[in-house]
């Protein structure tokens, strides 16, 4: 190449580089949120009566707006485009500028947007913010499932405006989900831990389909077909979409950190403590009288109420730390008047033997045995390649085993014998329970299982 041509090439490339520099700067200077802000300020200026205010609005500086929420560990930039959420005069304007009705008491300055709606708060472009976004764990929830987010902060029993949550908690209790899954630290490990399900990038449609037919979305899933009704599916999807392990500042959680005696009383009644304990002589004499227990025992010991082997003879309960503290608050002030009132609210107590088997029944529900062994422990859950092809029913346990053998199986666990040794192992198995159930729990479960044997079996 001649020198002349070299020089010309150099000049051309310089001009091209200048062009590209300008293009890059232009690209950075025209982010997608700026036109939205321009449209908003024009709209607000048109609606403004006062000329000076109108002009001020038209000349507003364009900038990213964000809500800092350190207590929720997030930053929300939604208000960069959604500029009218706090302005009641903009109730009827088109999106994205419309006023957000019914927000109280969840004011946007303290709660932001994504804690309820999901989506990527850090983003400043529409697709990235709303999704679906690859690799962003909290997808934006469709309107139907929006109230699932209530469960992130509202852990109390009945949540106003979200009855599906309580329904779901009842289903989890009665259908035995904890037998295979972990939820908030309780449960077993046959299935995946669900404590953070809201941040797993799962769509509500996927979750619904999974409840309808697990193998249609996960072909290798051993989850039994629970034949949930449509309402149950929706409630469970709601519940799962509320589960997150992301820590939040305490003032966001609706159950106060200083649990009240009132809450404790409700829990005392729900957990049926009066079946074994008395207060100032009123109640049952199975276990010790609880009056003044907070003065006899240290707070640290009391907070372990319900833990495995907390106190000899007492069954295991899965109480969250706040629950235990609420109970302790109640016990500090409880009198025989409270005990009498609770007794009157209850249905009459069962005779001792029936009480034991009823306790066992509740334990099998509580710890999820029915999840694999079926409702009423009647079996019926398919378990491919196990002998018999199903998870066994437990109603005939008394015929086949001694109590000691059953206790050993519960503690140790058991892999089911294979139908065909050359094929894959069965997906469901009996896990070990010795770290979760105390001896008393196991005795109760066995009492319940023994009580299931039909009385009128003809002797062979």
């Amino acid at each position: 190449m001649t020198e002349h041509r070299i020089a010309v090439l150099f000049s051309l490339l310089s001009i091209a580089t200048l062009g590209l520099t300008v293009a890059a700067i232009h690209q950075a200077n025209t982010p997608p949120w700026k036109p939205y802000q321009n449209r908003f300020y024009a709209l607000a200026a048109d609606r403004e009566q006062d000329d000076a205010a109108s002009r001020a609005l038209r000349n507003s500086q364009l900038e990213i707006k964000q809500i800092l929420l350190p207590g929720l560990q997030r930053v929300d930039r939604c208000t960069t485009c959604h500029l009218g959420v706090d302005d009641p005069t903009l109730a009827g304007v088109p999106h994205p500028f419309r006023f957000h009705a019914d927000l109280e008491p969840h004011r946007s300055a303290r709660f932001g947007c994504t804690i309820c709606h999901g989506g990527q708060g850090l983003a400043t472009e529409k697709m990235a913010a709303h999704g679906p976004v690859q690799n962003w764990l909290e997808p934006r929830l469709p309107k139907r499932y929006l109230r699932a987010s209530c469960g992130r902060c509202h852990h109390e029993g009945a949540i106003p405006g979200a009855p599906e949550m309580q329904h779901a908690r009842r289903i989890v209790g009665s259908r035995g989900c904890l037998g295979c899954h972990r939820l908030k630290g309780f449960g077993n490990t046959i299935g995946p831990d669900l404590s953070n399900e809201a941040r797993h990038e799962r769509s509500p449609e996927w979750l619904e389909q999974h409840f309808r037919d697990p193998r249609s979305v996960t072909p290798t899933s051993p989850m039994p077909d629970f034949k949930f009704s449509q309402r149950e599916i929706e409630a469970l999807t709601f519940y799962l979409l509320s589960l997150t392990t992301q820590p939040m500042a305490p003032y966001y959680l609706s159950v106060p950190m200083l649990p009240t005696a009132e809450q404790g009383r409700t829990l005392f009644a729900e957990a049926s403590c009066i079946s074994c304990h008395s207060i100032q002589g009123v109640g049952s004499s199975e276990g010790p009288d609880l009056h003044g227990v907070t003065q006899r025992r240290s707070a640290r010991w009391l907070e372990r109420i319900g833990h495995r082997e907390f106190c000899e003879g007492m069954p295991t309960f899965t109480f969250a730390p706040r629950t235990a503290r609420a109970l302790v608050s109640f016990l500090a002030v409880a009198t025989k008047k409270d005990a009498r009132a609770i007794l009157e609210e209850r249905i009459p107590t069962l005779p001792p033997d029936d009480a034991l088997t009823d306790a066992g029944r509740r334990t099998t529900l509580h710890f999820g045995c029915v999840g694999c062994h079926g409702e009423g422990l009647n079996g019926g859950t398919p378990n491919p390649n196990s002998q018999g092809g199903e998870v066994p029913a437990l109603i005939h346990l008394a015929d086949d085993y001694t109590r000691g053998e059953v206790a050993a199986i519960i503690r140790r666990g058991k892999t089911p014998p294979l139908e065909d040794p050359k094929k894959a192992a069965p997906p469901l198995y009996m896990p070990t329970w010795r770290n979760i159930l105390a001896d008393e729990d196991i005795d109760r479960i066995i009492a319940y299982a023994w009580s299931l044997l039909p009385e009128d079996t003809e002797a062979w």
């Binding site: 000049s11 310089s14 700067i25 990213i64 706090d86 009641p88 005069t89 300055a109």
Partner: protein
């Protein structure tokens, strides 16, 4: 034009383009370093609803370093809690109705005027307006005279 001047003007154009690109790039780099979002508390913020604030005692908003002053039933003002000497946070003393700075002994009266100590200027008073959702909006960008109040019709 002859070959020499043609060559010459190409060189000039190239040099001009490079210089322009350099200047544009430098300006863009300066803008790169200007923060577009801040993780500090915003200068214009909502303080809460009027009912949150008691009459008589200034209420400190610690994160925004601002006092909300409701010295009459319906009148609201906001003053800075930052001592004008070297920036410590002043405290209100109900007993003698004064602001005291713990660092170097500055004393301000209830209107923010310097009574004692090394502070060079009185405390700033900020504009308080009513936001559309019924909360008090404090704008620390705008310093106003100390007797300017927001009157809230109840």
């Amino acid at each position: 034009m002859n070959r020499r001047s043609f060559f010459f003007s190409w060189a000039k154009a190239g040099a001009a383009a490079l210089w322009t690109a350099g200047i544009a790039g430098t300006a863009a780099a300066v803008k790169f370093f200007q923060p577009m979002v801040s993780y500090e508390p915003p200068l214009s913020f909502k303080a809460g609803v009027p009912e949150d604030f008691p009459v008589g005692t200034p209420t400190l908003l610690p994160e925004e370093n601002t006092f909300i002053v409701r010295d009459r039933e319906r009148g609201f003002r906001a003053c800075s809690a930052v001592c004008t000497h070297l920036g410590c946070t002043v405290r209100w003393s109900s007993g003698d109705q004064r602001f005291y700075c713990p660092c170097h002994g500055s004393v301000y009266d209830a209107e923010g005027k310097v009574i004692d100590g090394p502070a060079p200027r009185p405390l700033d008073w900020y504009e308080v307006t009513m936001a559309k959702d019924g909360q008090l909006q404090v704008d620390k960008h705008r310093v106003v005279p100390r007797d300017k109040r927001l009157i809230v019709e109840s």
